[in-house]
Every structure is written in C-alpha cells, then in structure tokens.
Symmetry: C2
Subunit: 435 residues, 2 copies
C-alpha cells in the first residue's frame, strides 16, 4: 500500500508439518513478495512444531522444533494449526488465544466440539479465530456464510463435504460394485485412509455439519447434536433403486431451519440420501465437494471445489492468515462467535424427511392396499408408487411425502413384518426436491 | 455479544429506492433484531434519497428526501448507494468517503471506471468501500476473491455474469429461434429492458469483468481495458454448430493471467464462446449467474446463484452493510484497494484464444488442403477437422489450437475470400477445455 508506513513482520508459528503444513511452508516461501504486498507487512515463519524433526527434510531445519508449547508462547502474532486431533491441540490453541495470538486452524473435530471455549478466549484477548480450511477445503464457504450472508436469513445448507465417501459412492454408481469392493479400490488409490472410520461412518461430515449449522443459524451446535449415519450400509441395491428413479445416492450434510407451530428449531444430520440427477449436487463426483445454500433474500447458491488435499487446504489456511495478518497491521478483528439465536436442535425422530422404500412383495391382489394401510396408520402420506410384476413376486416402490423420521421408521418396521412383504430391498431418504 | 457494552446505533443513508432499495428497506425492518445481534449495535435508517418522494409509498414517508447531498453530509455512518449511473453518484460517494462514511454500493459501471479515486478517498479517511452486489448479485464472489483467496495465486476467472444475455442464449439453444425473436420474447417477459443495449452489447458484463480482474490480479483494470463483444451477432447457425459439436454458446467474462516469455500480463474479455456441454458453466441456464475460478493452490472452484433481482442484490448489500457496521463497532476496516501487481492488460489481438470455424465449401478434392494451407500460413495449428459431403457442396468444421486472436482473425479473413469457400457459416471462440 503506497503511502503507508511499513509495518514490522507478522511472525507465524506453524503447528504440524504433514501434507497441509508442507504446502503452507511452500506457499509462504514462493509467494512471500505477494503476501507482503497484500498484508502490508512481511510474513515471517518463526517456527514449525513437529514430533520428529528428522522426518521433515523439505522445510528449513533451523525452524523445526519439538516444543510446540514453547513455540506458541514465543513472540509470534499468528498460530497456524494443522496437527488435528483434540489434545494437545485444544490446550495449545487456547493458550495461544489467551496470549493474544490469532489462530488459523483446519481442525474440524476440535471446532465441532470446543469452538465456544476457543471463541471465548479469542474474544477476551482480542485475537482472531479463523477456520475456513476446516470445512470443504479450498472452497470459500465459511467466510461467505459468516460475512457475505450476514444480512440474510439462511434457511438451509446442504452439501457433499466428504471426498472419500463421495468417491466411493460415485464409484458404486458408475460400476454397480458393492460398498466393500469400492472401498478397497478407494484405499488402494489413496482416496480412503487405512482406517476409514472417520470418513465412511460420517464422523468427518458430522463435524463439518456442526460447524456449518453454528455459522448459518447463529447457534452453538456440536458434533454430538448431529444425527449421523455413514455409507457402510449403502448397498448395490440402493444404488440401483436410485438409478431406476432418476436419482443418485450421495452422503449429505444437511442443516436446516424447521418451524413447527411458530417455533423455530434446527435439524442437523448426515446420512446417505437419493437426490434427483438434475440437482446441482448430483453431478459432483469423485473427491470434489459442493455445498448448496438457501437464504430468504439471496435464494439458492452453490459453492463447488476441491474439498481436501495439501494445496487446496493450504490455500484456505493462507487466506485466513492474510486476514489475521491484515487485522494486526490495520487494527480491528475478524468476526466473533455469533450464537445469539441459540436455536434448539431438533431430535432426528422429530425431523421432517422423506423416504424411498423399495420392497419385494408377493404378486397378488391386495398387496398395495395392505402396504398403503400401514402408511396411513402412521400418518405418512404417499407421494408416488410404482409396481412391477415379475415371475412369482413383484417390486413395489414407494416414495413418501415429508413426515417425521420416527413415523417413517415405524412405518418401515411394520411393513417389513407384513407377510406379503418378502424383502425390504432398499430404504433411503430422499432430498433435493419439493416435498 | 454478551458481556460487551452496547454500541450506539449505526446510522445509514440509502441513496435510491428502486427494486433493490425497496428490498433493502424491507430487510432492514424485518431483520432488525437479528442485524442488531450480528452487528453489536442497532442499524438505524436515517434517510432515503429519491427523486420523486410521492412515488415511494412502500417506505416510511418521513425518511424520504430529495436532497441526497444533504443526506450524505448528515450524521450517518454508512451510505448505501443503489441509484446507479456515474453522476451525481460518483461525487456523492466521494464526498461520503472523504467525510469518513463507509460506502456500500452495487454500482458496477461506476466501480469499473472510478474505483481508484473512491478507494483513495476511503483510504485517506479510514472509511470502508464494499461492493459485493456489483458483480453476480447475491453470489458471494468478491469477498472470496479479495479475502478467502488472498493467500493464493488466481490464474483465471471465467463466468456468466449477465442474466439477460444468458436467458436469451438459453432460449435460442432450446428453441432454435433467432436472436431477434428471442430478445423480443425476453423483453415481453421482463428479462430484458426496453433498451437492452447495456446487456446485449456486453457493457454490463465488461464492467463486471473489469472489477473481477482488478481483484483477482491485484491490478487496476477499467471497463475500457476490456475487449467487449455482445450477443447480437450470435446466429441460429452458431447455436446449431455448437450443438453439433457437443457445445453450447454462452456470453463469457474471462479474466486470465497470460505469461509470454516470462512476462506476466492479463487478458480481460467479454464475448460469446462455445463451451463443452459437460463444463460446469454449460448447465447454468436462464437468469442464473455462475463464476468459475482457478487458482494455483486451490484448484478449480465454482460459485453459482442468482445474479440479479431486488432481493438477491439486497442480500449482498446487507452483507456488506453488516461488515461495514461491524468495523464501526469493533474497530478496524475492510480490505483496501490492492493494485500493487500493476500487471499490464494485453490487447485482444495478442491474447491467445481458440476458434471454431464452420464453412460451406465446394465438394471437390483439394478443398481441405487449400483451407489448411491458410491456417499453416498464419501459424495457426488445427486441433480437429470435420468434413461432411452434401449434394453439391460440403460442410467443413475446423477447431483450432490456441493462437493469438489477431492470427485467428486474419486466417478467417483470408479463408472467407477463398473461391472454394461458399459461405462462412459460423465463427466462434472456444473456451473451457484444454488447448
């Protein structure tokens, strides 16, 4: 900025130097001049905390330390955290914030559980807490939710926020293979980790859903508030059933306002669901992420890009670093926690949703009326039915209108016990279309 | 924010009260409590400057004034401008900024010509200048470019940023109708204005391209730097030729870095182009906008949503208002102009691009070799050729590799003069695929 006096360097501590950390170091070095011009002061890497310094030959050896605590306590302005996990990260970041150091983190699990305590520490000392990289990698999503849409009323956030599960579901859709086979392939290709639990069981997506819901609805939502179902039970039959209906199966993170009798609450859930092939999220394949946002005034929006990987995540980290550094240089601070609305989280059983149910039934008259009676009994209204006769049995596909998840579950339980029902082939929620 | 002392009201002046202004007033009223909680202070509408107060019965009469200058000079913190046009807006906003009042504007034409002077006034007084609503309506795009991607190196921004032309081109594609017929229909439906010049001749898109290029490449780019072609010359034959090649025609705003012999420059252009049907921008239909961004570390991203309309534009305005108001309450300021890179803008003739050329030629041996010789002569390399024999003439379609626009133009001129060429059916640039 010509005409302004030059500010002293912004000193940065980096905690962790894995895939993302290495890229952060690379970008800080390669783009040093640009970053200086954009911030109004040079960015100086003060130290890199790692467990095993001899394993990091790609970064300057004199910057490496095993003492993360001392690095955080030293004379730095910003702490970048890409270690992951809850402890010791939580303690390190709280100490950094208490000491007035701004924090940039990609740690979704930590934020989904302990963001309130971190925000409080930041607020007390005047430091910033930024975490764009924690959700949907490189895609600018949290800043738009926290800032660009701050004057609007967001009603729904629905997205594909986990690349591993999207890669597996895309694979199952294109090949017709089973979940187990496709997971094996994904592991072999490096798209799934050796222990894929956090991804395939939906923990990673649930943390992200909690963060998204907190920001979208100005309320505290933690991972334990999120209804979570993974993709391990998605069968080739589910995928085929979806295809037959012009739909595809995706693992969705859904955060929405639910108004019942004039009282507002929020529903936050992660589960596989069928969406129409024409829905913008349907064509998001492989390791890409995309998030669909609906707001009262803005209408529908979509954000699309790379949801993981060293360089994309590092891009989001660097964006936050520039923001935190600009605040140091120019005064002021980033957005604080905004949880004033304090909307209650609705239990999944009381959340309205829609089901697709595909059944193998005896091919004789009266079957549909028996099945339909069970829906009626549970106050679940049917949107569409398709019946197909085969040699000695028949296929019956039912798509419901919206009803509470509990009513839908009870309906499925009761139907699966009907003598005319030979097999429940596929049960899956339906999203992305008008109810 | 619990525990913080309540700040006095943030006083806002609204200049203009058309479609967008009316929505701004509605949202300020309906969301007053939420805005207060999000900003940390109440937002108070101090006055609304209009030309004819008796024409605005939907807003509080006591707020209306015809004296915009006095309103701007009064005791307000933020000025929202939704009048449009260059004067008197330019003078009003400069005075507001000089007086330390932050400005939120949706005025793309003004920013594309005079942003430097407005930024200077803002910088001198410490006020903010926000303009998210100026490009792509409700879609959070400028904040992501200015802030989220501030640590990355953006290489390309390519988007559909004008709803009217996209509506017309979508219509021509689905019906096969001519440009004139489709424009008439768009005007009848209210998607095109009575005088559609600013939209169909690409002026609106060129202003937006200038703003996007300035932010993406940290350089001053004005509307006059943008190569501009509208859609009036797009024919039904162009649309049909695109279909035949698995492509669709879109009016694109393209901002890109071009490196030749180690020297960086930027190319900024607005013109119709064919893109593959599988490209994410191809399925953006009707009045929607979408912008594709490529950055070194983040990779490819897309932002999609409503590009115009009262409520969507007001959403973007309110987001900026919250940002400006938060800065008043919490100290600090938004991002300043970042033009340090000062990259030169490349003339269109020297910009690399690709052409699709569809010709009616005499159906006899040797035609292709004559045509191919002209390409070779101009150093333009051919990527694909398709020849179709008909009764007494033949169709010849050529898609080139990248070459300078000047070389491509000369090639087309020379070819159209060849005796074997009966008609140049369609000439159009090709985008969105590897060269």
């Amino acid at each position: 900025m010509p005409g302004h006096k030059q500010h002293g360097p912004i000193r940065v501590a980096l905690l962790g130097c894995g895939t993302v950390g290495t890229e952060v170091v690379r970008l800080l070095t390669e783009q040093a001049d640009d970053l200086t011009a954009r911030v109004g002061a040079p960015i100086e890497l003060a130290g890199i905390a790692v467990r095993k310094p001899n394993k990091h030959r790609e970064v300057p050896a004199d910057l490496l330390t095993t003492d993360a605590e001392a690095l955080v306590a030293s004379d730095v302005d910003v702490v970048i955290e890409v270690i992951g996990g809850i402890e010791p990260t939580r303690t390190l970041l709280r100490k950094a914030l208490e000491g007035g150091k701004s924090v940039v983190t990609a740690n979704k699990a930590l934020l989904a559980e302990h963001s309130a305590e971190l925000f409080e520490a930041a607020d007390a000392s005047g430091a910033d807490l930024y975490f764009e990289a924690a959700v949907a990698g490189a895609i600018p999503l949290l800043r738009p939710l926290r800032e660009s849409l701050a004057g609007d009323r967001i009603t729904r956030v629905m997205g594909i926020v986990n690349g591993t599960t999207n890669f597996i579901l895309s694979g199952m859709t294109s090949t017709g293979s089973s979940y187990a086979e496709t997971l094996e392939e994904a592991t072999r290709l490096g798209y799934a980790e050796a222990d894929p639990t956090a991804d395939v069981d939906g923990y990673d997506a649930a943390s992200k859903a909690a963060i998204l819901a907190s920001l979208a609805f100005h309320s505290r939502v933690t991972a334990s508030d999120v209804h979570r179902e993974g993709i391990a039970s998605v069968s080739a039959a589910d995928i085929a059933a979806a295809k037959g209906l012009g739909r595809v199966v995706k693992l969705l993170a859904i955060c929405e306002r639910v108004e019942v009798d004039g009282t507002e609450s929020i529903a936050v859930r992660v589960h596989p669901a069928m969406i129409p092939v024409a829905h913008p999220l349907a064509s998001v394949n492989g390791a890409f992420n995309a998030v669909f946002v609906e707001a009262d005034a803005a209408g529908e929006m979509m954000f699309y890009g790379q949801g993981a990987g060293g360089a994309p995540t590092a891009s989001a980290v660097l964006g936050d670093l520039v923001a935190a550094a600009r605040n140091r240089v120019g005064g002021g601070h980033g957005p604080r926690e905004s949880a004033y609305a304090a909307l209650p989280v609705r239990p999944m059983g009381q959340t309205p949703t829609r089901y697709h149910i595909s059944l193998d039934v005896a091919d004789r008259p009266g079957v549909l009326s028996q099945v339909a009676a069970v829906f009626a009994e549970h106050d679940v209204s049917i949107a569409a039915v398709r019946q197909e006769g085969r040699v000695d049995d028949a296929g019956l596909v039912v798509v419901t209108h919206a009803a509470t998840d509990a009513a839908l579950r009870s309906t499925v339980d009761k139907i699966s016990g009907l003598p005319v029902v030979r097999e429940v082939v596929s049960v899956m929620r339906v999203e992305g279309e008008e109810t």
